[in-house]
């Protein structure tokens, strides 16, 4: 599993590997929103945490189709599948690599980007905390979606379609906790739910992803 994880990380930082691009996408979405909704500071600071959550989610989404599709195209996937590593572990390694190359940088980048959206001071720690808790779930769920669509050429959009409704609970609890935290309201419930979703997804979805990969390799 370590071999696969290391290879994926190495591929991500090589030319054309896509590291940093989801970050750039996140930046750009955040920048575009004020152009589109107008520059009023109070509107922006109200919708800020939500926009950053949606931006992070979309940036995650965009990088998902690289998860298995590249290995599928060049034939690495069947070779990995016949290796001693079970497909469930393959899925988990891919999810971890994905989180390290997108979820983590997005979380770290959210705070500076918040400034662009006139976030209030109290919002920042909550935003970062909820993203840190929520992005692993996004990576695992996304890996499942990517495994589901691996046989489909350029299935990027279908992947988005399948994955986005699965992202809804994570988004709701994450954005809600960030919003409540910023307003000083009670946040224990959404935070616990968010953590629960992340843990549950981490525990169960790699198995679903493995099963689905096996079907797709037939």
């Amino acid at each position: 599993m370590k071999a696969l994880l290391l290879r994926d990380l190495r591929l991500a930082v090589r030319a054309g590997g896509g590291f940093g691009l989801s970050l750039a996408f996140f930046l750009i979405v955040t920048v575009l929103v004020p152009f589109a909704v107008g520059p009023e500071a109070d509107t922006l600071s109200r919708i800020g945490p939500g926009v950053l959550w949606v931006g992070a989610l979309l940036a995650t989404l965009l990088s998902l189709d690289r998860q298995f599709a590249l290995d599928h195209e060049d034939g690495a996937l069947p070779l990995i599948a016949t290796s001693p590593l079970p497909l469930e572990a393959v899925a988990l390694a891919k999810a971890v690599a994905h989180w390290l190359t997108t979820g983590l940088p997005l979380t770290l980048a959210a705070a500076p980007l918040g400034i662009l959206l006139n976030l209030e001071g109290a919002s920042f720690p909550w935003l970062v905390l909820t993203l840190a808790l929520g992005t692993p779930a996004l990576s695992v769920i996304g890996t499942f979606g990517a495994a589901l669509t691996v046989g489909i050429k350029r299935g990027g959009l279908l992947l988005s379609l399948l994955v986005l409704p699965l992202y809804v609970p994570t988004l709701i609890f994450g954005a809600e906790a960030a919003r409540r935290g910023a307003m000083g309201l009670e946040v224990a419930t959404p935070l616990l739910m968010l953590a629960g979703i992340t843990l549950g997804a981490l525990a169960l979805l790699p198995f679903a992803a493995g099963a689905v990969l096996r079907i797709n390799l037939r």
């Binding site: 370590k2 090589r14 054309g16 060049d74 070779l79 990995i80 016949t82 037939r218």
Partner: protein, 206 residues
């Protein structure tokens, strides 16, 4: 450590392709699959490799002993030749032996990103994976495509003297002679009979 196939039927995309195959390959032996284009060589190899389920019949071999190789070798263009091979060694938890680079004439290319290799060079890299992962049962689909005569001879030599001689076995689909002294198995005699009711999922609907 032998490969035993009994009464095997295989299908592709739901269509039965081959029917009633039985053969055994013993350690140290190679079996060459022959048959015109579309006979079902690729389909059969994928079933043997466990990538597709058989329609009927049995494939017996020790678990985790087979390696499959086709045109798509899973070569990562941005990794160097050595990095590509080391990844496979690590994934299969095998020690890294620098010697494979010589076996497959890749020493002078070891530092090149794999994406800059010529067709034959990257085929050699794909074959070198087999030397790295050390699986005893090789399932090879047209392994010598794009190779020049010298490389074909070198690969056949490796197969004979390194792989088969150490108790491995191989099933090889090919259209060109490899210069191996191995029995040939002609698949055209096993074409699934179109008039026999379909097997697999079609059967339920016929």
């Amino acid at each position: 450590m032998s490969l035993r196939v009994e009464g095997l039927s295989v299908a592709r995309g739901g269509v039965p392709v081959l029917d009633g195959l039985s053969f055994t390959v013993e350690p140290g032996q190679a079996l060459v699959l022959r048959g015109p284009n579309g006979a079902g060589k690729t389909t059969l190899l994928r079933v043997l490799a466990g990538l597709a389920p058989p329609l009927a019949g049995r494939v017996e071999m020790p678990p985790e002993s087979a390696a499959y190789a086709s045109h798509a070798d899973g070569i990562k263009a941005t990794l160097s030749v050595r990095e590509n091979l080391r990844f496979w060694a690590d994934l299969y938890a095998r020690p890294w032996a620098e010697g494979v680079l010589d076996d497959f004439d890749l020493r002078s290319l070891a530092h090149r990103p794999a994406g800059t290799l010529s067709a034959g060079q990257s085929r050699r890299l794909g074959l070198a994976r087999l030397g790295v992962i050390g699986r005893p049962i090789l399932l090879l689909d047209e392994p010598t495509v794009s190779l020049d005569a010298a490389s074909v001879a070198r690969f056949a030599g490796w197969l004979r003297e390194r792989h088969l001689a150490s108790g491995g076995l191989a099933v090889i689909a090919t259209h060109v002679p490899l210069g191996l002294d191995a029995p040939e198995f002609d698949l055209s005699r096993f074409r699934a009979d179109p008039m026999v009711a379909g097997q697999g999922s079609d059967a339920a609907f016929l």
